[in-house]
Amino acid sequence: MDVLGLLIPVSLFLGAVGLAAFWWMLRKGQFDDPDGDAHRILRDDYDDHPKG
């Protein structure tokens, strides 16, 4: 059971990394145009004007 002492902090840390990543995506506005992003990736022409 000693391994729990290691695994619990590790799992919490990984979860926190996910949470931080989500927070970052929210701040960067990656959910502003989900439909558009889904379609843009399928376009044939190269996107010369990616969103800054």
């Binding site: 059971m1 729990l4 619990i8 799992s11 919490l12 979860g15 926190a16 996910g18 949470l19 989500f22 927070w23 929210l26 959910f31 502003d32 145009d33 989900p34 439909d35 558009g36 379609h39 843009r40 399928l42 376009r43 022409d45 004007h49 969103k51």
Partner: protein, 727 residues
Amino acid sequence: MTATFEHIRPSACPACNAAPAAAHLADLPKQAALMLSLPGIHCAGCISGVERALLAVPGVTEARVNLTLRRAAVQGAPDVTPAALTDALARAGYEAHELDAGVLASTFADRQGRDLLMRLAVAFFAMMNVMLLSVAVWSGADGVTRDMMHWISAAIAIPAVIFAGQPFYVSAWGALKGRRLNMDVPITLAIALAVGTSLYETIHSGHHAYFDAAISLCTFLLAGRYLDHRTRASARSAAQELAALEVPRALRIIDGREETVAVAALAPGDIVRVKPGGRIPVDGVVQIGQSEIDRSLMTGESLPVFAGIGTRVSAGEVNLTGPLTVEVTAVGRDTTLHRIADLVATAEAGRANYNSLADQAAKLYAPFVHILSVVAAVGWWLYTQDMRIALNIAAAVLIITCPCALGLAVPAVTTAASGRLFRKGMLIKNGTALERLAEVDTVVFDKTGTLTDGAPLPIRLDALPGDAARVALALAQGSAHPLSVSLAKGLADLGIRPAHVTDLVEVPGHGVEGRWQGRVVRLGRAAWLGAAAPAQTASFLSLGEGPAIAITFADRLRDGAADLVAALQAQGKRVILISGDTKGAVIRFAQTIGITEVIGEALPQEKSALVADLAAQGAKVLMVGDGLNDTAALAAAHVSISPASALDAARSASDIVLMGKSIAPIADAMRTAVSARARIRENFTIATVYNVLAVPLAVAGLCSPLIAALAMSTSSITVGLNALRLR
């Protein structure tokens, strides 16, 4: 009506939006960022096509399409005009409208949504971790291990609950301060009690801790809140977009110079110019110029009216043929437009009493839960004389009965339903609109602009003699009057080629004149050509000799109108047509579409009185209308729908806005509304069944944290899945 969209169009309450309008107008000329609405785009090809077309316009430096919002943001040189952009897109085959960027600049709702999403993410993260730790406890950990799991759970759950639950605490506190009970009071109490007793148990090495229940309660309820917020936010942003389509500007003339000003900046006595095709921004008197005015949005008449020097015009009317110079007599609050908006305010009071299904549920539920948990706690305290057990039981009862499923029951269904209807081009502005729509048994239609396109169509063109048809085409092509445009299109479709007519001049307010084979030929109003004015919309053609030839026009049906009326009648609904147009025109129209109950020449007050009478007889009325004369009736009806081409006042008075040109989605909406109401009821039943099964366990003290977690998750998930079954 869409043709006049880009032009000046006052809102129902110019005073309300005067401040933001004036504020953003100050930097309007310099501002190079333009917003366009693109209602028709739907695919990857559209994104590329629109961006390419926009970038090809000289001066444009950046164009970015947002497919979710169906908008494009364009950056460019100051001389790039919205008209140039919409023209470029129209040539590329995309429908586009200018948006007033100032009206759209509201980020408060966005921030609120992002805030809720963040809380939801934190709650979800904490729930998953605490659940995993709890699995160890459920599967039999005891002694030091159990205590450690409890302590770690507490360390995760307590800060998470404090942060994530804030919306509930704030709302519950507000309700308590106002001496009311709402859904959030039992929620807050349950969370506080669960965390409190669990902490106490943990400190004293107890067996049961409800940290997982407290945090999953937060998660499920936040999910419901977020769905609810998203539905309302997307409706609000679409409604804002409609408002932004109307840029409230006017051309003021000072010392012979024209300048563009905000409508709010005008004062009585100012002189404004109204271009042909523009909407009149104020009430006033014509000083210079002759033209025809389309009053259909104000009165429902489909015939344009002559306007010359001294004619009174009111805000909201459309100037058709010649430029008019108007002296302002009233602006803002004093205009006819605004006085009708006041009628609306009084009519709307009735609808505020509507009791939604969610309200009914909450009213039954909140007191019941409190009483139950207090009774359970007191009972156990009397029985065992142990406060610790009593509080544990009270917490268990509150957790089990907590309205996770109830909180999801309505938002999950309305989100699914309004998403479906939005894809069909309907915008649900009001949360309870679907419930009310499901109860409708009587449908009242306005005619002009609602069942018709507002653009008349020439009839019996093939009866015109060859020469007359060719001359008529040549003359019609020389004018921008809606009748001429429609006539020119009708004749061109018949394959007729224009005659050689020279010296074409448009005589504003009268018609078009030209020279053909040495004779003066004219196309225009009856009075101008010396003919008797007919009962229906008509243009007259004079070939210089012989009597004038009448070309009659009929209202064109809006797409899907006939199907909709037939579908409603097939569903057994009572269908009534009421219009401000002449009796003859209304009755003829009703026959073509198959409506038997018809009322013509109705004043705005009569329309709302009819709706109120029907309501008094117990009918649930759906009013569909677009004009200012319908506004009071729209507000008085049980539920109301207006097309996107309607006046701002009419749109804000109605619950649902039709975004597309077709009116057919209304039948779909009614079907969806009925099934949405059924789903909401089913969801309430499911939630109740779970409660009825689990509450006796909780009261009996048999409810372990495992049972609480199971009941909560399964009921929330079943309710969510049931909402997705919506057809």
